[in-house]
Amino acid sequence: MSQDVRDENGVLTAPHVLEYPYRRSVGPVLGRFFTALRDGKLIGVATQQGRVLVPPAEYDPETGAAVADRFVDVGPGGVVTTWSWVPRPRAKQPLGRPFAWALIRLDGADTALLHAVDAGDPSRMRTGLRVVPRWRAERVGHIADIECFTPENA
């Protein structure tokens, strides 16, 4: 036992670090998606029925069948399918100023991706709004390689 188990008031203390000490592989499908993000590109994966999933998954959520080994370029622009407004962003969220969360169906995709939209004001948001990604200059293969989306005609 270390000597510093008691603080200055004599209260017993113990350090407790909550951690997740595992390494995970993102696998063959999300791995391709993140590699593309690092290269500043957006891709989806085709299901056996030909629907394009973005973000991609290893299995078709409709049928449970493995997806086809066919990746397709999508975007970079897309359409907001629904959105909500964040008047007071939390510290870990993508933007430090008020922004919108939106589900965004990228051009060529059949499902929608969640991301932040830097619209400035909720009056500039609407379902059906066209948005484009704002890429980070330094990309590492992570969903936050897209800093956020912005209205296309901003």
Partner: protein, 349 residues
């Protein structure tokens, strides 16, 4: 299928900030449910629902066994889910013939942490969780999708909040209750447009317990047992953008499999933490205007994490046990935007 019934239910007052620890909250609740059942311990099976993420410690649920009493050793299981799913596991155990009686409990103490942030950790760890979307914002995405599809307005949502709070006045365990004025509610700013504070549940701490028994054991334990005539749960994809958020296909399917529509429903307890979710669930379960929905005030008025679903089953069972309902439907949900849903059909005979 074996006849299995709920024979007793107890819950803690749902407080915004409970100073007792989890075991201290749970112990009187378990004791009350056990005493009401008249069944002597040990139970053939014990199953609990809770989340270690709320306590911030792996295997934190093990501590809670102190409230159930684990000596001499008992057959026991735990789900990292709402207690409604622990009840499902106990029901399966009894169906399999391995138990005649079961104790089910659930607890959730959210007040020490930052709940919206804790809930973000349940999301897909690759494309969702790293962005830290909070649960209220995600629910708001669903609210807008539903409002734009149906033409429903903020006033329609506020009316659900007003009715729920009024009903909660007769529920001593509710966190929020009272006579709210719709105009005053609508005058408040949105906290996650299109949702205002009254569209969202209070963050609170709570616990609940239910005793299950089979056949004759149930008839001996309770004058009017709430027989489980159907129970089923279904889940939807974790990718929010792969779902139609304006409907709940998993609730509809679970309701069909559980037989919710096979007879008239007197009362329904729906686990709808957000106002628009009550409307989506009503539609998914085909509940008409004649069905009394959430006489307890529902999750809008008390939503202890991991517990509010089990409370829905307990509240519905209480209406059967006290003779005020003949047939009831209870529903529990888990995950963002009604991702996973359980439907339980209860009858008095």
């Amino acid at each position: 299928m074996r006849d299995v019934a709920i024979v007793s239910f107890a819950q803690a007052p749902n407080r915004r900030r409970e100073l007792r620890n989890e075991v201290e909250i749970l112990m009187p609740v378990v004791q009350e449910a056990v005493a009401r059942s008249g069944i002597e311990r040990p139970f053939d099976f014990t199953c609990s629902g809770s989340s270690d993420f709320l306590q911030g410690q792996p295997f934190a649920f093990v501590i809670a066994l102190d409230a159930a009493g684990a000596w001499p050793p008992i057959p026991e299981s735990h789900v990292e889910m709402d207690g409604a799913w622990a009840l499902y596991e106990a029901w399966v155990k009894i169906q399999s013939g391995q138990a005649e009686t079961a104790l089910v409990y659930a607890f959730g103490k959210s007040s020490p942490g930052d709940l919206p942030e804790v809930l973000a950790t349940q999301l897909d760890p690759y494309v969702l969780a790293p962005l830290w979307p909070d649960a209220v914002s995600l629910a708001a995405l669903q609210a807008r999708a539903w409002m734009e599809k149906t033409g429903a307005t903020a006033r329609d949502l506020a009316a659900i909040a007003v009715r729920s709070r009024r009903d909660a006045k007769s529920n001593p365990n509710a966190t929020v209750s009272g006579d709210a004025e719709i105009e005053k509610l609508l005058a408040a700013p949105a906290i996650a447009d299109p949702l205002r504070a009254h569209d969202c549940p209070p963050v609170c701490d709570g616990a609940a317990a239910i005793v299950l028994a089979a056949g004759e054991r149930a008839r001996k334990a309770c004058a009017r047992p709430a027989w489980i005539r159907g129970i089923d749960h279904r889940i939807e994809p974790h990718s929010l953008g792969a779902r139609d958020l304006s409907v709940s296909v998993s609730t509809q399917l679970a309701g069909e499999k559980a037989g919710a529509g096979r007879g008239a429903v007197d009362v329904a307890e729906l686990h709808a933490p957000f106002t628009h979710q009550e409307a989506i669930l009503r539609e998914a379960l085909g509940l008409g205007e004649g069905v009394r929905v959430n006489p307890s005030g529902g999750a809008l008025c008390a939503n202890p994490m991991m517990t509010a679903g089990l409370i829905r089953i307990g509240e519905a069972a209480s209406r059967i046990m006290d003779g005020s309902a003949r047939r009831a439907v209870a529903h529990a949900t888990s995950g963002p935007c009604l991702q996973q849903n359980l439907v339980c059909v209860l009858e008095g005979a």
